[in-house]
Amino acid sequence: MLNKIKIPVWIVITVLLICSTLTTYVAQQAIKHYSFSAWLDGRIKPAATPFAQQAQQHLSAPFHLFDAFSTLVVSVPNVSPEQLDFWVKQQITNTPEIMVASLAAYSTNNARLQHIYSAGTAEKYQQDSYQQTLLSMLHKSQQQQGVVSKRLDNTTLLLGKKVHLANAEWFFLSEIDLNLLKLPLIKAHPQTKLNFALQAFDKQKMQLINWHFGKLHTDKNQIQITLESSYFDITLSAEPTATFLPKWQAPEVSKLIGITILATLLLTLLLLLIWYQQRQQKVTSQLLQEQNHTIHQQLTSAKESIKRNSRFAIINDMAPIAAAEISPAVSQAIKAVSSLEERTINLKNKLTDGRVTKSLVGSYLDNATKLTRASSSQLLIAAEATYTLEQFASDLKQDTLRNINLQLHTAAITSIYKKSNQHKKVKFIENLPGDLEISAYSGSLTHAICVVLNNSIEHGFSGKPDGIVMIEAFKSKDKQSIQMRIEDNGNGIDDDTLNKIFATESIDTHSGLHLAQQIISDKLNGKIEVSSKLGRFTRVNLTLPITENKN
């Protein structure tokens, strides 16, 4: 599969490792995030909620006291200052969240602000220097129903309320010491191990307090709690004081990550092994290819050597045949010339003796003519044989491309075989038209024909006293090639051997045909087909292109 992808395995492994690392990191971050969220909701919220509630209680207490005070004064108009003092003390005693009370009551009948009662720090608003603040609160409370609030500074929150009942009007004032209110929360803060930002807004969205307990660093690690009351809304932002270290909440998740990492490592190891194996295979394949190439070169070289040797062998075979033809011819020519010489000397002696007659001269001339003719004839035979041998040798050695008359070329080859004593019992029947011309490498053509003929003579007629080799040739229907058939009535070839002739490189008794096939396909651009019947015949069909070779 990896071979089909065409991507190096090391890239796949690297990508896999990067992906697994990224996946593990993302998974870790996600788990950390969710774990942290769960931790925030599960731990921070329960720890922060009591703090928010405590803040709400402490901040609400003065509001409730203020409301109760105003209700008391309105409902009991004739209450004495001593009774109010007692009431205030009772409230402080019974309400743990109230450390001090700062309350003042004024009558506003006839548009005059008349002091009724004051306790705690609210007493100072009778002084002239605080009149402006007092009137400001009165003005604000006239505009809004219920309790109004106003921040004077960082430490003071003023509450105001105007009540109109029947023909009477009251204005109530309370001063809340925010720093004093903050002290119980400062004390409670360290126990929570959280940092807080506490904000309170009145119903008109005016900020009442903005306290920080510890430093908040980032919005990410915070939770927010909102508490509402009838006077104000509290928003508490909480953040853990220490840096959160992820604790894996779910062991299953840890197991899953572990299994993923292990599986990735195993997969990586497997891929590494496959990669190593592939690499080894590649190296082995390269080595085999190199060896194969070397063997192929050696084989090609060997084939060329075989071809060359085969040609030399043909020449070697032809040379004695030619020599056997030349030697008698030359010998006959020499005999004729010697006889002529002898007769000439006799005639010269008789001429010296004066015994020459006219009939004698005539006889001499007749004999001389015959001897000369005989000598010339024999010398011509020797010359032809020499020429033929030389031509064959030249063709086989040089293998030049030239126009060949197939009839003459085949006749020249067969003539040599016919003259051979060895083949004297083999009869050659040639049936080739005189106009069959082919442009081909003459040496290769000669070589191929010789190989086929040799195969017939040496193997086909082995153990047989005589035989017939029939050679035919004709142009194909398309006029583009020549069909040449060389058939013998020899032993034939069995089917197994026949099938292996062109399929194997092995050297067997019919390797000559394989050589012929190589010559024909490589040099003559043709093809060869062999058919045979055991004990009956062997037929070799050669298809030789005319135009291809000409080109």
Binding site: V100, A101, T121, D177
Partner: protein, 177 residues
């Protein structure tokens, strides 16, 4: 020359006002801590007068005792505290003899004075002493207000145990309001 003198005077006036404001703010915050400390102190024995007298020995105007007084109803459970301020040690002693003080307060200056006798006597009677500075605790004081920069620290002398009162655990780290 006049300009330089004027600017110098202005700068001096500004510094003076700033230090006055800072002193007032610190005194006010000390008052808050005193009220907090008092509200976290529980008395065991019921006073005959049903109230506690807090006798403050102060030296100047910007004393936390004066700010505490403004709150009027300050409780040191189960009693409310009545405030008495003296700038003379003898007046304090005389008041104590006549009316009996249950809580003593010494400001920054008077805490540094020779008050060991008063404090020691208060300790013998099991009364609460509140002062200023680290050294006040070494004088067997019960609670000390320690001012460092903009922070205030409330330190309780753990070694001093009284049968008359118990101080709840307070926030002992420096507080910046």
């Amino acid at each position: 020359m006049k300009k330089r003198l004027l600017s110098c005077l202005l700068f001096s006036f500004f510094s003076f006002c700033n230090s006055m404001l800072y002193a007032e703010e610190q005194a006010h915050n000390k008052a808050r801590l005193i009220i907090w400390a008092l509200s976290n102190t529980h008395w065991q024995t019921i006073s005959a007068t049903n109230q506690l007298n807090m006798c403050s020995f102060v030296s100047g105007h910007y004393s936390a005792a004066q700010y505490v007084e403004q709150y009027k109803f300050v409780m040191s459970p189960p009693y409310f505290v009545k405030f008495h301020t003296f700038d003379n040690q003898q007046d304090l002693v005389n008041f104590d003899i006549e009316h009996s003080c249950q809580i003593y307060y010494f400001d920054q200056t008077t805490s540094a004075l020779n008050i060991e006798q008063i404090v020691s006597h208060a300790k013998q009677r099991g009364l609460l002493t509140i002062g200023n500075g680290e050294k006040f605790l070494t004088k067997q004081g019960d609670i000390s207000l320690i001012s460092k920069g903009q922070t205030l620290q409330l330190k309780v002398n753990d070694s001093e145990n009284s049968q008359q009162f118990k101080i709840k655990a307070l926030y002992s780290m420096p507080i910046k309001f």
